[in-house]
Symmetry: C2
Subunit: 448 residues, 2 copies
């Protein structure tokens, strides 16, 4: 390995005037008559490096010329002495260049700058992501996933990788991508849910999966994409959807605490502007997340004077925002579980309440104004499931591949799916899925 001193650690070296080697991208060059200032940035920070010209000294000329030829974006390895220099705004220190190795010369003129519009920035996403603030989003993502997996690991979950190539559209065929597949059609998975449930029928007890899902959704909104990372879990031997909520709440508390501990300070430093619109950095509620039935939630919202649109049986986006504001005020929680949706707005496979078959054992989890999860206890009894398919007027034959999972026994179970990018949007305040996805995919975007 080429041993590099992380730029963020240079102050300790500058204090002792030590030799260092740094490596990174050229972020700027001022090539003056007597001195050259070269700004170099790595994944931890940026630093000014300097070369006092002495063009009469032939041994120094090569270095000076090498620096002069550098372009923004080029990758260099710079060796020299780190010294304190109060005049330097960038960290109060500089590196006096003794040697420079050019690893890769950038073409002159980067195609994007500070004021480039989002779509062009996405064209050059690999340059866009060089902004450390943007790369930081993926450090948060790494911690969030790692912490979630550790929690699952300590709680007896198996990790699965369910297939993304399916013989049948997941749920009735809307928003499905079809693929010619050896003379037949295959479909891309819209969700791992049916396969998580299959794992329950296989006796796996508890499973999780973090993986891609695909939606042939033609929308261009700031919340929609055609491919995204879904965070899914499913557990057996539950009494009701409340056990699923318990599991999700524990998981989120654990993972979000790790994010706060590891990145809280950096998130505030990087995203304070973005977060100011939603009341700053998130907090983890000390009390349990409130659980409010949909019908109570609708009452709470309407008591504020807001009229929920007549064609909405659940909550429209404005109601979600109002409800989150109210639960924050009343219960001090940024999270709220909305439970017990009527069967009309839930899929056929949600289990129904024994004492009220019009209501499902289902929930949504709202966080800071948006829905981040849908969860439920599933109907695991073959005959009831078939009945619910018929009641919904759906095609029983087309769903046999799924109902067959339950034909030879399956424990009671439920689970949830969590949107990773929605979480990242709420953590950073970046209000566009394109900014928190490594490489966004939409109806008109398949590159880079």
């Amino acid at each position: 390995l080429i041993e590099r001193t992380p730029i963020i650690k240079l102050p300790e070296y500058a204090e002792r005037e030590s030799d260092v080697t740094i490596g990174g991208f050229v972020e700027g060059l001022r090539d003056q008559r007597r001195i050259q200032f070269l700004i170099v940035g790595d994944e931890s920070g940026s630093v000014q490096t300097v070369n006092l010209r002495n063009d009469d000294d032939p041994s120094k000329l090569a270095l000076t010329e090498a620096i002069s030829s550098l372009t923004t974006g080029s990758v260099v390895e710079v060796s020299g002495k780190a010294v304190q220099n109060e005049k330097v705004k960038l960290g109060g220190l500089e590196v006096r260049i003794e040697d420079l190795v050019l690893h890769s010369l950038a073409q002159p003129g980067l195609p994007i700058g500070m004021d480039t519009n989002l779509d062009t920035r996405l064209d050059w996403r690999y340059l866009d992501l060089r902004e450390r603030k943007k790369a930081h989003i993926f450090d948060i993502q790494t911690t969030l996933e790692s912490s979630a997996r550790n929690w699952w690991g300590s709680n007896g979950y198996k990790e699965i990788h369910s297939p993304k190539l399916l013989a049948h559209p997941s749920e009735g065929g809307s928003e499905e991508f079809a693929i010619p597949y050896f003379g037949k059609d295959a479909y891309l998975a819209q969700s791992p849910q049916f396969y998580k449930q299959m794992a329950m029928a296989a006796g796996f007890n508890r499973v999780f999966e973090i993986g891609p899902v695909f939606r042939a959704n033609p929308s261009f909104t700031s919340r929609h994409d055609t491919e995204f990372t879904s965070v899914d879990a499913e557990i057996s031997w539950i009494d009701s959807h409340h056990d699923v909520m318990d599991a999700e709440e524990s998981l989120l508390r654990h993972a979000l605490k790790d994010v706060l501990d590891k990145h809280g300070v950096d998130i505030l430093a990087n995203f304070s502007n973005e977060l100011s619109e939603q009341g700053g950095l998130f907090e983890i509620p000390t009390n349990p997340f409130p659980r409010i039935s949909l019908s109570d939630a609708r009452k709470m919202v309407e008591e504020t004077g807001y009229i929920i649109p007549a064609n909405t049986e659940d909550l429209d986006p404005e109601s979600e925002r109002i409800l989150c504001r109210l639960t924050k005020e009343r219960y001090g929680s940024d999270f709220v579980f909305v439970t017990d949706y009527p069967i009309s707005v839930r899929p056929f496979y949600h289990m129904r309440h024994e004492n009220n078959p019009e209501l499902t054992k289902s929930y949504d989890l709202l966080w800071r104004g948006v829905e981040i999860t849908t969860g439920a206890q599933r109907e695991h009894r073959y005959d009831r499931l078939k009945e619910q398919i018929r009641e919904k007027g759906m095609d029983e034959g087309g769903l046999e591949f799924y109902t067959d999972f339950f034909k030879y026994g399956c424990p009671p179970h439920g689970g949830f799916g969590l949107g990773l990018t929605r979480m990242l949007m709420k953590i950073t305040g970046m209000n566009n899925v394109r900014e928190v996805t490594f490489l966004y995919r939409g109806p008109k975007r398949l590159t880079p």
Copy 2:
């Protein structure tokens, strides 16, 4: 949650004749005139539960009839007293049934049994996976991945999720799945490699990804599938491919040690037959994995008298087996890195040796006779990369989406891809990818 006592823990309860509740699948029923024997299995083991009939006692009749009606595969919750009973072969204990709750009644007659052929078992994979030995493979997988991610986490890697929907075929278009995509064509990713490299151009320094890749490969062999889980890593600021090998070796030592510590005993118990053909449970070499150049490796193989087929410039499968045998004998290592492949058998983007441009800075890792990894230092210099594309006679224009990544600077970097199922095959001795994949996908298999 329905609190269950794991069946594997029943001995401690039986010792004290305690009350227990177990939950699982009905694995067998002997419904005799005076006594009913019901075998119940959960994810940890199986146990005999018994009901002494007393058909004159009406309060007991319901229980007896409930048991009589049970079918294999049905899901039950059984409460009763655990007692020691030396006569019982299954663990020397039994549970005397006091109460039974039926959660799900299986249709009579499971469609697969002990001697069902593989293809039919795959049709009913969720029943096939109820065999605990098979479910155990996914415990090993969970540990392997979790341990690898922990190692990456401690070594500064970011986790990425690269897109699976691409505008361009990954490498020249063979074995690509094409998808109609909003009036255009998209392609499914064959590898995350180009995007891992893009992350290097973005300054991410080190990344990993565990995710699905797709190959429209029409083969039906025991090692091929059309969708599988790829384990990928990429690191910057390397001196050569040896740094990539160092990283992979450390990763594998860490992850395989965790697998041995956590599952060694169970793997031996479950897979001793399968493993006997390859010399038992794997061991982690104490010495560094040997690194042998391809040309030396070929000499070693040919010195045994084996003649490598004339049309093979690298190693044919038989040579791989011979080489592994030799390195085991000479260096005590089940692993061997084969390095420095000629440019003719490596893709255009592999970096070449400065002092020998006919050889690439590449490697394969062989484990117990099969290749589990391909790795390399990549060519990160834009001009050289373009040159190597021209030399290979490839279409420069079609690769611009990729070469553009390097146009504005990129640090030296390299990485590797590791086949998760090949690892699992070597760990368990199960010699078919279909057995170690949660749900295998092949040219004729898209279900369940």
